[in-house]
Symmetry: C2
Subunit: 495 residues, 2 copies
């Protein structure tokens, strides 16, 4: 019985009853013991191994407790009959090569949602959208709130309400009203693990294979994936500078529509009131739900926030989705749904069966931040800092590219869309490569269009980039744009 | 425009541009403005409201930005045509009474998984299983680990690996080996939000409507619910003092089996090696997966931990499921799956689409606890404390009931099963009620049997209770048993 090693290369603890037990078990399973199945007496084995007899006895008793061996007083232990039989059976019938048998959902998932490749992070400036700067995170305030939450001593540690902590939902109710003019009951709020889980809840509870759902085109890929994974069919409707083109939606039968009316992702348009009414009229006509993803409504630089669809529709057809991923951190995984009352109980049941509830300490910490006003102060500070980053980006783009680029969607959010009318779509891959070689990460709009309709009229045939800036410092933004301009010039000179 | 109140009863902020904007918007939507749609000039409205003209202008510009009104220089603002039209359309066609249209999954969920009613917590001693005592939680160690995790400054705050933090998975790999003799690669580990999410992942990826799955009977309700919700059919197989009766499984075709071989829930049996081999042979024969829920393996009082099925099967057919809900707290929502390599990528894709990943701070905190040995020390301490509680319960039961009860499953875990052979099943509801009246919460085994097979041979026709003790202090356990004995006597005297 030689030294064993753990998989990570550390030495296992020194020889003891467990090591002996393990070695004997392996030997039994590999049929080291002959036809009689007799193991050495505890005395003999103790002598052989240089350990106490008591140590061997513990190992033997464990093997007996698990049914590997039979022990009778005064006799040598013997391999149990069941083990002998099953090992014989095992050797007779070699298992056939394994096929992976997945559910229909599992098979579909392999097709529709390939795991997004992890980005190499060693870039000087990565304009990837969705990331935030750690320097903006309110470390002190969050730590204080978390420490207070950990110190809380409830009567017992037990599963909590699947809809979320009542304290957090009450705080969110007030926040939604004062910041977004959304009025709702506490019971309509369901705390989820980030907006992605909110979308997954909607997908599971509202879509069946064969149903249709409406997506903005271009639009948010992870929403399309989670809805497509149900087996429902996507109906892409073009989005323009005013968000989803509701004229083109009018006669489209579907079960739900996913929209970002406050700041269309990625183009950045704000849906005007006329389209909002058309969208809600469509939902009434087809008895459909509208999922309103208010993902970055806190960031609005030129004007006040636009009130959500939810505030217009008296909550009957609209499921509102909010998140702290763009204000605190995407790694916290806290979001919230506001659902029509008629859906409340089934959403609660689904959340419970999916993962019981969202982790409690974070919920309590966020409640504290909301109650004390620390969250609102933080949002103002983050808005100021991201406003400065946005200005740095707009300035740098103007300086490096002048009129050769068109900038869209800059009034709000944490990204802009930059179009390069003199760079044909065909040059996109080369531009990404050239920028990456200079240490700059860029991300094309083209990936966010529905790939199955590549010839659609509304899709530009030149390069467009979604440029997120919230994770970058001003110097990275400036130098990043300079390097990007060099990459563009390099490509132009080759043509 | 009278004072508005927030839903929670606080006064809204004092009158400003937003309040004016909101009031005008409500008026526009309720068609206060006449056929011409003209609003007052900014000068006139400012005079009327006693605010500056600039304040009114901000409100008007916001309304214009959102498409509610048109502004032309020198003229009074006018309600936009789109709003007028859509409101007219809205009044003509009253929406019909709303029907809730759910997916098949949603409809099924309403049937199979009614939301578990929240327990009233005002009992002197509630023997509910699954709760822990806050006095056992390692507040200092966890706080230290969490504070360190919050202070970490990655390059950017970005979505993490859907399978979980590599640091935590590496720490879990070592833990699984040293504590459970489970050998696996880091990539086979998927960190989930508690074991319930692990079960949901298995349900979605492995079961379709019409498939069959095997459950222990009696068994864990939340597992049965999550599998049933897929539309697959449960095949209940009796469990006895040795766990699942694998003889009765032999010719049962199914896609998966859910088992708790280390400590059958609720009966407490440890599955002997013979049955383990039969179970694995069954899985090979039917090309099925075995989900091994190792939910409380840390608590074993008389003997060493039993190595999991996973350690026997070289990981081909077994999905191993672990959790910290029984060692740290059920409110943290951290668990982990070890999946066969062939399933790794589809589980990762599903986890990503479900909620991106498990919250990062807790993952890092748990990794720290595992790396420093603080977790192992905590587990030893918790085992000691729960061992004392168990002894208190066994002593109290013996003292109060003597030979009139039979105790099962006491060698491990955080609960025992107590049978009352002289209390017919029909008295169960009255006993629960009588105990509750005395401030004692008791929970019958009968609820954990498959309800659709009430006449099954293996099901006792007398009262059995699942008595969890991990959330109670010794004095609660002792007095709770005394009160329970009084309730039993009370019922006996009535018969």
């Amino acid at each position: 019985m030689g030294q064993m090693k753990t998989p990570s290369g550390h030495r296992a603890p020194r020889m003891g009853a467990r090591r002996i037990y393990e070695a004997l078990r392996d030997q039994i399973l590999t049929r080291v013991y002959g036809a009689d199945g007799l193991l050495p007496s505890s005395r003999a084995l103790a002598g052989e191994l240089g350990v106490s007899r008591a140590t061997v006895t513990v190992a033997y008793e464990q093997l007996a407790a698990e049914g590997f061996i039979d022990i009778r007083h005064g006799a040598r232990p013997r391999v149990a009959e069941a083990v002998v039989v099953s090992k014989r059976a095992g050797t007779r019938a070699r298992p056939s090569p394994r096929t992976v048998r997945l559910s229909t959902y599992g098979e579909r998932l392999r097709r529709v949602a390939p795991l997004s490749a992890e980005q190499p992070r060693k870039l000087f400036a990565d304009f990837r959208y969705g990331d935030l700067s750690p320097s903006d995170f309110p470390v002190l305030g969050w730590r204080k709130a978390v420490v207070a939450a950990i110190a809380r001593r409830p009567e017992r540690l037990a599963y909590d309400n699947p809809c979320g902590s009542r304290r957090l939902r009450t705080a969110l109710q007030g926040y939604l009203w004062r910041s977004r003019t959304v009025r709702c009951e506490v019971d309509q709020i369901i705390v989820v693990n980030g907006s992605q889980q909110g979308l997954d809840l909607c997908a599971r509870l509202l879509l069946d294979p064969g149903h249709r759902f409406v997506m903005e085109d271009p639009g948010y890929l992870m929403a399309r994936h989670v809805f497509s994974a149900t087996g429902a069919a996507v109906v892409p409707i073009p989005a323009d500078g005013d968000g989803l083109d509701t004229e083109r939606l009018a006669n489209t039968e579907a079960r739900l529509a996913y929209v970002t009316p406050s700041h269309q992702f990625p183009l950045g348009g704000v849906m005007p009131i006329g389209r909002r009414h058309q969208l809600l009229a469509w939902a009434r006509k087809f008895d459909a739900y509208v999922i309103e993803d208010d993902y970055d409504s806190e960031y609005r630089y030129d004007t006040k926030p636009v009130p959500p669809l939810y505030a217009l529709e008296a909550s009957e057809r609209v499921i509102y989705l909010g998140t702290v991923s763009k204000t605190l951190s995407p790694t916290l995984r806290i979001g919230y749904l506001v659902v029509p009352s008629e859906l409340q109980s089934v959403f609660a049941a689904a959340k419970q069966i999916m993962d019981r509830h969202t982790p409690l300490v974070e919920q309590e910490a966020l409640a504290t931040m909301l109650e004390t006003g620390a969250y609102d102060s933080h949002v103002r500070r983050a808005r100021r800092r991201n406003g400065a980053r946005r200005q740095a980006l707009l300035d740098a783009l103007r300086r490096r590219f002048g009129d050769r680029v068109q900038i869209e969607g800059a009034a709000a959010g944490l990204h802009v869309v930059v179009w390069f009318p003199d760079m044909p779509q065909a040059t996109e891959a080369a531009l990404i490569e050239a920028a990456r070689a200079k240490g700059v990460g860029i991300h094309p709009v083209s990936q966010l269009f529905d790939q199955r309709h590549p010839g659609r009229q509304h899709r530009p045939n030149f390069v467009g980039l979604v440029m997120g800036y919230a994770a970058l410092e001003a110097r990275q933004i400036e130098r990043g744009c300079q390097l990007l301009a060099q990459a563009v010039d390099q490509l132009r000179s080759l043509r």
